[in-house]
């Protein structure tokens, strides 16, 4: 099917069925809980889509300067691992599985969590912490990596997300 020639200037503007902005909530502090939101945010930026990340509950570990280097695979209560539940609870199993996952991800050039968070921030995505859980855990801006832009309320998050899509992970 050939359509009449378009001038180059018209080209980018002609699609109206595109996503212009996404706001992604990361609520989990496990490796498998953190990666999907980071991948979605990074992928959005690569498409030229505006992206903001909102970290809440244990997801705050992903931007916590003391915790970011120690994000682990949840080895208990994770049926996807196909392990007997008691095995997951044995000391060292979570760390061993995390090393294994990091090795597998390295093979496909997937960055580590700290590198990925820095990369997403460098791509222009905004990183925000949830005020309610920050207060609950007794945290301040000093506990977070420098890329975090602020601690915001749910209302401020919705104002930031207005006009875009919201993804909860």
């Amino acid at each position: 099917m050939a359509i009449a020639a378009k001038s180059p200037a018209e080209q980018p503007a002609q699609r109206t069925d595109t996503i212009e902005k996404v706001s992604i909530i990361i609520s989990q502090g496990s490796l498998e809980g953190a990666y999907p939101g980071l991948i979605m945010a990074n992928g959005a930026r690569a498409e030229g889509i505006e992206a903001n990340l909102f970290f809440t509950f244990f997801g705050l570990d992903v931007i916590n300067r003391k915790r970011i280097d120690h994000i682990k695979v949840a080895s208990v209560g994770n049926p996807g691992l196909h392990l007997a539940t008691w095995v997951g609870g044995v000391p060292g199993v979570s760390s061993a599985l995390t090393h294994y996952m990091e090795h597998k991800m390295g093979q496909i050039d997937m960055p580590s969590i700290p590198e990925f968070v820095a990369m997403v921030a460098d791509s222009g995505a905004g990183l925000y912490a949830c005020k309610m859980t920050v207060d609950m855990f007794g945290l301040t801006m000093d506990d977070f990596i420098p890329q975090v832009k602020g601690i915001i309320t749910v209302g401020e998050f919705y104002a930031l997300a207005a006009g875009g899509q919201i993804i909860f992970t």
């Binding site: 020639a5 378009k6 001038s7 180059p8 080209q11 980018p12 992928g43 990369m119 460098d122 791509s123």
Partner: protein
């Protein structure tokens, strides 16, 4: 794959086939003479040496591998930091550079 839309546009006096996202369907229809006009259509008014470096890198990668690199690989192979890539191509470095380089959209999730 979704059925591809075929559009025709005229760039630097030559009619070329592009898909609905503006990527060249036949990279052999592309020439370097089209770069300034393609870049202007992406909102890049001034092409710097760094833009050219990245556009040529995308093109060379495509000619060698049959695909251009996604953002992270583009940063690694060019040595241009991610932050700078987004300053040069705010609407998506790999995607926009590929469109200007006349090659298909890079297929990578990172």
């Amino acid at each position: 794959m979704i059925a591809e839309t075929v559009l025709q546009r005229t760039v630097a006096g030559v009619t070329v086939d592009v898909n609905g996202e503006g990527f060249f369907l036949h990279p052999e229809q592309w020439s370097e003479a089209m770069v300034p006009e393609l870049a202007a259509a992406e909102g890049i008014a001034t092409l710097t040496e760094r833009h050219w470096q990245l556009i040529r890198l995308m093109r060379a990668a495509y000619e060698r591998d049959g695909t251009g690199p996604p953002v992270r690989a583009l940063s690694k192979t060019s040595g241009v930091p991610i932050k700078d890539l987004y300053e040069l191509f705010p609407k998506g470095p790999a995607k926009v550079a590929a469109r200007i380089a006349g090659i298909p959209k890079p297929r990578g999730c990172i």
